[in-house]
């Protein structure tokens, strides 16, 4: 045990003393914050003004719609969002104007393709009386990806028509307001007193998952690189003349596990005390405890894979090939995060939080959600994870014992299975 701990201590110090570790301590939260903040900041930046051409075949809506669209301001209120170019249509009636409109379309399409125009809007009588079988008004553009423009134009058209209808005096203005506006509806999280606390509360389970994912996946990869390094510079033989292969492997896992724990403690302390300063408390001691349990078991599970893979490879490239399936499954489990957040007690969430590869992340996600999963599910998930971690570690120990002294071509998956099944 003493020798195991000595190996662990060396592994820990070697990792913690690197610049990469310091970088991870500070850069990861920064990157995380940036991934939330940068899109928000970009949103704030006034978008460039877009020119919309307006063709009115009704002969009555054009001016009002154009005025409404032109009145839209950027979020900072400093500039107009759209420039509107009214294209007058020749003709005494709708049919004639429709024909004129049709004749101009080729020219408009070309201007859109040339980038002179963002898009154009063709207003038709269906906007006014909504009869069946009428041709719809049209919004045409080269960039349907920006759906906000469509929403803006559609709202403005609706508002103009609504205002016209109310102004005609046939509808009671009170009734009109009820029909044309949304009832006010505020939203809030029952666990949080303020709006900021609500946001923190909603994000918290996700932050849990992100922390677990980052520490487990990135830190346990250090095991692959370190093992390969020890192998390639033959330190491994000196080590094995002093400690047993199992002591060496377990020591390495314990040491790296402690590195991840250090990272998590730093981040959690900083994050929680930051929130506490604002008077927000989002996690209970029980949740932190469970997070620790899932970290330890999840780390053991993945680290065993990593160390086994590292032991049979001579270069990082070989290791990456062998790790690809594990990494693929991991990333997939991460892709389910949003589905599980939406429905934390649905069938998908309940199944995935039992499967060892995804359970550390997804069960923790559920624990942070409302309502929390039943206690027996948490217990079952922990039991399954613990059992599989123990099995994987046993298998890894067998692979490690043979692998560390094997140079040359890494074994195939089938050979690995044979080593695992071997009796000694």
């Amino acid at each position: 045990m003493r020798r195991l701990l000595l190996v662990a201590l060396r592994e820990y110090l070697e990792n913690v003393r690197t610049k990469a570790f310091l970088l991870a301590v500070f850069m990861t939260p920064l990157l995380m914050a940036a991934s939330f903040l940068v899109p928000a900041l970009l949103e704030q930046k006034p978008p460039e003004q877009r020119t919309i051409a307006l063709l009115d075949t009704t002969g009555v809506l054009g001016a009002d719609v154009a005025a409404r669209i032109a009145a839209r301001r950027t979020p900072d209120e400093k500039a107009a969002l759209y420039a509107v170019e009214e294209v007058p249509l020749a003709g005494a009636d709708v049919a004639a104007r429709e024909a004129d409109q049709a004749a101009r379309r080729a020219d408009l399409d070309r201007r859109v393709l040339d980038g002179k125009l963002f898009g154009y809007l063709v207003l038709r009588p269906s906007a006014l009386d909504r009869g069946d079988g009428q041709a719809p008004s049209e919004y045409r553009t080269g960039n349907l990806f920006d759906q906000k423009v469509y929403a803006d134009l559609s709202n403005d058209l609706k508002d103009v028509v609504n205002a016209r209808t109310v102004a005609a005096g046939t509808v009671d203005p009170r009734v009109a307001r009820i029909l044309t506006t949304k009832p006010p509806l505020a939203q809030g999280d029952v666990r949080a007193a303020s709006k900021a606390a609500g946001i923190a509360q909603t994000a918290m389970p996700f932050v849990f998952v992100l922390l677990l994912f980052l520490t487990i996946v990135t830190i346990s990869q250090a095991l692959v690189t370190n093992t390969i390094e020890e192998k390639s510079n033959r330190v491994i033989e000196v080590l094995l003349s002093s400690v047993s292969p199992f002591q060496l492997m377990a020591g390495k896992i314990v040491g790296t596990c402690a590195v991840g724990l250090t990272l998590m403690t730093i981040w959690a302390t900083a994050g929680l005390s930051g929130l506490a300063l604002k008077g927000i408390s989002v996690v209970s001691g029980g949740q932190l405890g469970l997070c620790l349990v899932f970290y330890l078991l999840g780390f053991l599970f993945f680290a065993s894979f990593m160390v086994a893979v590292g032991s049979v490879c001579n270069t990082l490239k070989e290791a990456q090939n062998l790790l690809a399936p594990v990494m693929g499954i991991l990333t997939m489990s991460f892709m389910f995060v949003f589905a599980v957040m939406k429905e934390p007690n649905g069938t998908l969430a309940r199944v995935l939080s039992m499967i060892p590869l995804s359970s550390p992340f997804l069960m923790m996600l559920r624990i942070g959600s409302t309502p929390p999963p039943p206690a027996w599910e948490v217990a079952a998930s922990i039991a399954i994870l613990a059992l599989s971690a123990a099995l994987v570690m046993r298998a890894a120990a067998k692979v490690f014992r043979v692998g560390v002294l094997m140079y040359g071509k890494p074994p195939t998956f089938r050979e690995l299975l044979r080593w695992v099944r071997a009796r000694n």
Binding site: R2, R3, L6, V7, R10, E14, T18, E229, E230, S232, N233, R234, V235, E237, V238, L239, L240, S241, S242, V243, S244, L405, N424
Partner: protein, 307 residues
């Protein structure tokens, strides 16, 4: 026998269809220097790895200090593998402390020894540098230091002299002799026979996984004892050692060579022939060197291909 440090009893090790060690018996008395000799691929490293319990023999057994090897024996052994490495990012002193600590020694024991050995080896200024800054020779010294500074009872050195310059080779030789004086048992492998000859109390010569010659150096030489002539001839035109009567083998240069003699060879006839060819500066007939014996035993000493 309690006074044996290492004992191999008919040890066999196979890798797939390839028998790396084939029935090896050897006994290393405590406090002696033992040489495990043989060409590349003879099974030396495999034997040493079994001794270190890196893998187990398929047949036979290995005893260290009278016991089958187990974890608790490891602290009593120092092992220098053939291919050596250090943790590149670690500082030398820290690394030596770590290697000593996993052998069960504490700081109080290790620190003065690291300092003393470090100074003796000319490493004092390097102890607080990172291993990646060391030259190859320096790194080898650090590796040797890591092998002995926990003061093991048994030191195992796999090809310790390879890659060392002559000064460091002599230094290592002196240290090995000094360790023996202090009662340490040393087992080392080499394919350079001169080193074995000048250092070893006992040897075993491995050939294709089998022990071919074993015993003290004198015993082996005497047993294999067809005599050899050690000669030096100056001023000869052409190779003076070609076609001499009764000579069955020549090793050396056209000036100085060891001549293997046939059992019925007449040294006087050889000397007479040499006198006719040039100025004879040396002519000595005695038991052959291990090098010559080795060459004879290992005649076609090409490494084996695995089956």
């Amino acid at each position: 026998m309690a006074d044996l440090a290492v004992q191999f009893e008919h040890v066999v090790k196979r890798f797939g269809g390839f028998t790396a060690v084939d029935g090896l018996d050897l006994e290393v008395p405590r406090g002696t220097i033992f040489g495990l000799l043989g060409p590349n691929g003879a099974g030396k490293t495999s034997s040493i790895r079994m001794l270190m319990n890196v893998f187990a023999p398929d047949e036979g057994r290995i005893l260290v200090f009278g016991e089958p090897i187990h974890e608790a024996l490891k602290p009593r052994i120092g092992y220098l593998p053939e291919e050596r490495g250090l943790y590149k990012k670690m500082r030398v002193r820290e690394m030596l402390r770590f290697f000593g600590a996993i052998k069960g020694r504490d700081r109080a024991f290790l620190d003065p020894r690291i300092q003393r050995w470090g100074e003796r080896m000319g490493l004092a200024g390097w102890l607080d540098r990172r291993a990646e800054e060391l030259s190859k020779g320096m790194a080898q010294k650090v590796q040797f230091l890591a092998t002995v500074c926990h003061e093991p009872d048994l030191v195992i050195l796999d090809e310790p002299f390879s890659g060392l310059d002559p000064v460091n080779r002599d230094f290592l030789r002196d240290v090995v002799l000094e360790l023996r004086k202090a009662g340490t048992t040393i087992l080392f492998s080499t394919h350079v026979m001169e080193q074995a000859e000048s250092l070893c109390d006992r040897i075993v010569l491995l050939w294709r996984g089998k022990p071919r010659l074993a015993g003290t150096v004198d015993e082996v030489r005497r047993r294999e004892g067809r005599e050899a002539a050690f000669v030096r001839v100056d001023g000869a035109s052409g190779d003076p050692f070609e076609g001499l009567p009764g000579v069955v083998g020549v090793s050396g240069t056209p000036y100085e060579a060891e001549l293997a003699l046939a059992p019925d060879a007449d040294p006087n006839a050889i000397l007479a022939a040499l006198l006719a060819r040039g100025r004879v500066r040396r002519f000595e007939v005695r038991t052959p060197s291990l090098h010559e014996i080795f060459k004879r035993v290992a005649g076609d000493a090409s490494p084996r291909e695995p089956a």
